[in-house]
């Protein structure tokens, strides 16, 4: 039990990161993470031991987010990644010479929530495609098509506007 608690604790930063890609408001982000942890503790006994804890936690959070979004349909649910990452922007942009962070975040923000979730779970959180399908409750084919569309859209946006990002072909 203590081991699970430690592993769960280690996932909190990732949960927060993912929550920020879903929600605009800092308070709402932490509310979602908090509720996710409470729900996870309630349901811990139902979890299969062999499953990946992190993927399971993402799934718990995703389900909470979906039911909340359904309830708050009238409210504005769009994301401002720029706002979220403002602290990092100034330094990051100079550090990452090969892609302008600002442009990237703006492009990311223009994606649908569905595409953004898939893209971030795959690239940032390093979940397998099968895990992403499980987390979001969608077929793996849908994961792939959302990933493909998200990447193509980002590419078009950053290529036409930004500096020649894509020369760094290996």
């Amino acid at each position: 039990m203590a081991g699970v608690m430690a592993s769960m604790e280690a996932c909190v930063p990732a949960l927060r990161r993912y929550a920020r890609s879903l929600l605009r408001d800092r308070q709402e982000v932490d509310d979602l993470v908090h509720d996710c942890l409470v729900r996870a503790l309630d349901q811990l006994h139902t979890r299969r031991d062999d499953g990946d804890l992190r993927a399971w936690l993402f799934a718990v959070m995703h389900n909470l987010f979906v039911s909340r979004a359904r309830r708050n349909k009238a409210r504005n649910q769009t994301v401002s990644l720029e706002e979220v990452n403002q602290d990092n922007l100034a330094t990051r942009a100079t550090q990452e010479g090969h892609m302008q962070t600002h442009d990237l975040l703006r492009a990311l923000e223009s994606l649908s929530e569905e595409q953004r979730s898939v893209l971030l779970l795959v690239t940032v959180e390093d979940l397998s495609y099968a895990q992403v399908a499980q987390v979001l409750g969608i077929p793996i084919g849908t994961v792939m098509s959302r990933l493909s569309r998200a990447r193509e859209r980002l590419r078009q946006m950053t290529e036409t506007e930004g500096p020649p990002v894509l020369r760094r072909v290996k």
Partner: protein, 262 residues
């Protein structure tokens, strides 16, 4: 994605970028990219995106977590919540029992034989559960009567014994649904909740008991809330409602008839 002969497709490009491509397909993909500059450009773009996203999101310095996201605090908060529920139940029971020294909820005679002790536990559980859940207008139950088959199957599997809500409709009580309860030693119990046309709620608690225990029906009463309990064939039963004893007797008889526990 491990099929060696399948031609390279869009999914392979992404799997390559994400390091999820099966090793046996990597060579094939490299060759494909060598022959298709457009695809190679796209893959390079996706790789750059991936690197930039990871740099942006993963290189933030470790943040201080707000206290309410610390697991230790959440665990303490949960314990507090559960404790609060029992405190409410106890407080209600105390207020109801004030002045009636014979009240059975918190009253504990010094020496009890096993059957008497079992009956007392059964009564306590039934009364506490009724106080807590029957008063909850919105969430008295976990699974509703509309899903009765699931309710039966679920509670039966948790109790390790077939349990089903008896039909009390001839007496004017309709099933609202049921829930799982915790008993004092960590074994599960089932609670079925009914109401009548006036919205009066009635609880029926079922739990397993040691197979050798047996007890005829005993009544219990406390400031307008009445109950009766009995033990038969390894199961304990308790009916609790704010109704006269005579009415509860009819319900208990009907429950026995329905469940044919004798």
């Amino acid at each position: 994605m491990s099929d060696r002969s399948r031609p390279v497709d869009e999914d392979d490009l992404h799997a390559f970028v994400d390091g999820q491509l099966a090793p046996e397909r990597r060579v094939m993909l490299q060759r494909y990219l060598g022959a298709d500059p457009d695809a190679a450009r796209r893959v390079a773009a996706y790789q750059a995106q991936r690197a930039a996203l990871r740099a942006t999101f993963l290189s933030s310095p470790a943040e201080m977590l707000p206290p309410r996201l610390e697991l230790a605090n959440i665990l303490a908060e949960r314990r507090g919540r559960r404790y609060a529920l029992w405190r409410i139940a106890a407080a209600i029971a105390l207020s109801l029992g004030a002045g009636t020294a014979g009240g059975w909820f918190l009253h504990q005679p010094p020496v009890l034989d096993r059957t008497a002790r079992a009956m007392q536990v059964l009564k306590q559980e039934a009364f506490a559960s009724h106080l807590v859940y029957a008063s909850d207008r919105r969430h008295p139950i976990e699974v509703g009567a509309s899903d009765e088959a699931h309710l039966k199957q679920w509670l039966s599997s948790r109790l390790g014994r077939t349990v089903a809500p008896p039909d009390l409709s001839t007496l004017g009580y309709h099933l609202i649904g049921g829930r799982l309860l915790a008993t004092e030693r960590g074994a599960p119990a089932a609670l079925f909740m009914y109401d009548d046309a006036a919205g009066q709620r009635l609880s029926l608690l079922l739990r397993r008991m040691a197979p050798d225990l047996k007890s005829t029906q005993a009544e219990m009463a406390q400031a307008g809330i009445n109950g009766c309990a009995w033990i038969a064939k390894g199961m304990g039963y308790a009916v609790v409602a704010a109704m006269p004893d005579s009415e509860l007797d009819r319900v208990a008889d009907q429950v026995r008839a329905e469940l044919s526990t004798g």
